[in-house]
């Protein structure tokens, strides 16, 4: 790829999704865009980008952005947040709002492992006496990732990353060489395609928003914008969950560390007044 082609990818990703694509990581760009070029009938990435430049076709542009936005995910990633959810956060939220559902949103769910980890946890809690009602929602920028997530179908490698074998045995069915989550787990989640930088006014309010390891791949401007909007999405007593070591721009203005878990934040009340 030449410098002009790299610059086009960087600018398209920044403009459409606030993504920060490092121009020196051409190997990453090439590995992500080669399959996109092939699947759209181009012989090379150069041909793909030439078509973007001359025809400005939205589906092509979004195919590039979605490919560059794809993040790493796995079941029960980092483990600690899920233990904290089960043992502390969900019981506390249920106590503080008796009679109504606890609403949780995975804001960039990729292929679904994060929200399904919660869905399995919630399903197992449901059999306990006095279990709270919990509503799960998930969204992603990528249509391809969302389709995969909704299907709930994973290969052997994916189900061996982070997923305890007892949960595999309890919540999955084997189909040929793949593993599919049972319908009772899949049906717990509502899905939507959402571009986080395009405005979140219509998304509603949530008690917990998971946005782990997402902002780290965005420009500083996009980080500030998304965080200021998330401050209006997280309910007054709610929480934002970021990656364990994430410190995005604008975090301190909109949110305050909640304690108890690295990456767990509460909305800054002062920020609400300022906004």
């Amino acid at each position: 790829m030449n410098a002009e082609e790299v610059a086009l990818v960087v600018s398209v990703c920044r403009a459409r999704a606030g993504l920060k694509v490092a121009p020196d990581k051409t190997y990453l760009i090439e590995s992500r865009l080669s399959p996109v070029a092939r699947s759209h009938g181009f012989d090379s990435i150069s041909e793909l980008l030439d078509a973007v430049r001359t025809r400005r076709e939205e589906p092509l542009i979004w195919a590039i952005v979605e490919a560059m936005a794809a993040g790493e995910t796995s079941f029960f990633r980092d483990r600690a947040p899920f233990q904290y959810f089960r043992d502390a956060l969900i019981p506390q939220l249920a106590r503080s709002s008796p009679g109504r559902s606890v609403k949780i949103w995975s804001a960039a769910c990729a292929t679904g492992q994060e929200i399904y980890s919660l869905a399995m946890l919630v399903e197992d809690m449901a059999s306990e006496e006095g279990a709270p009602r919990i509503e799960l929602a998930a969204s992603d920028l990528s249509r391809v990732a969302l389709e995969r997530a909704q299907g709930g179908l994973y290969n052997q490698f994916e189900v061996q990353r982070g997923l305890p074998i007892r949960l595999l045995a309890r919540h999955f069915e084997k189909t040929d060489d793949q593993w599919r989550l049972k319908p009772n787990i899949r049906q717990r989640v509502r899905w939507r395609r959402i571009n986080l930088v395009a405005g979140l006014q219509a998304i509603g309010r949530f008690d917990v928003v998971l946005c782990r390891n997402v902002l780290v791949n965005m420009t500083e401007e996009a980080q500030r914008k998304v965080l200021s909007e998330l401050a209006h999405v997280v309910s007054t007593d709610g929480y934002l969950v970021l990656g364990l070591k994430e410190t995005p721009q604008g975090l301190g203005e909109a949110f305050r560390p909640a304690g108890g878990l690295a990456g767990l934040y509460r909305r800054n009340p002062a920020f609400r007044v300022a906004a």
Binding site: Q156, G162, P164, I165, R166, A169, K174
Partner: protein, 120 residues
Amino acid sequence: MRTCLVVDDSRVIRKVARRVLEDVGYEIAEAADGMEALAWCRAAMPDAILLDWNMPVMSGIEFLRRLRAEPDGERPVVVFCTVENDLAHINEALEAGANEYIMKPFDGDIIIEKFTEAGL
């Protein structure tokens, strides 16, 4: 130092598992079938056992049932590592007392992750 018994009739698998587990601080013993593994356990019960299913002389599942009936046989964390990748085998292993289960092919990261998952 924590000890792990690697039970597999494939010398290559034993070698790979040894390398992975030694790197994270385990002292490794090896057995090529369930009977040999049982003798090891009776002599010195390990902290963990990485266990193949299909082996000559005594299978992994037979070994596990006998192990759990031994004095102190409940103590080792047992992680199956096998080509048997269907739910029937997984459930049979869990009922016999397995703590975790790796489906081959595997890589070193999965062994470490599963050992962590099993509380090691």
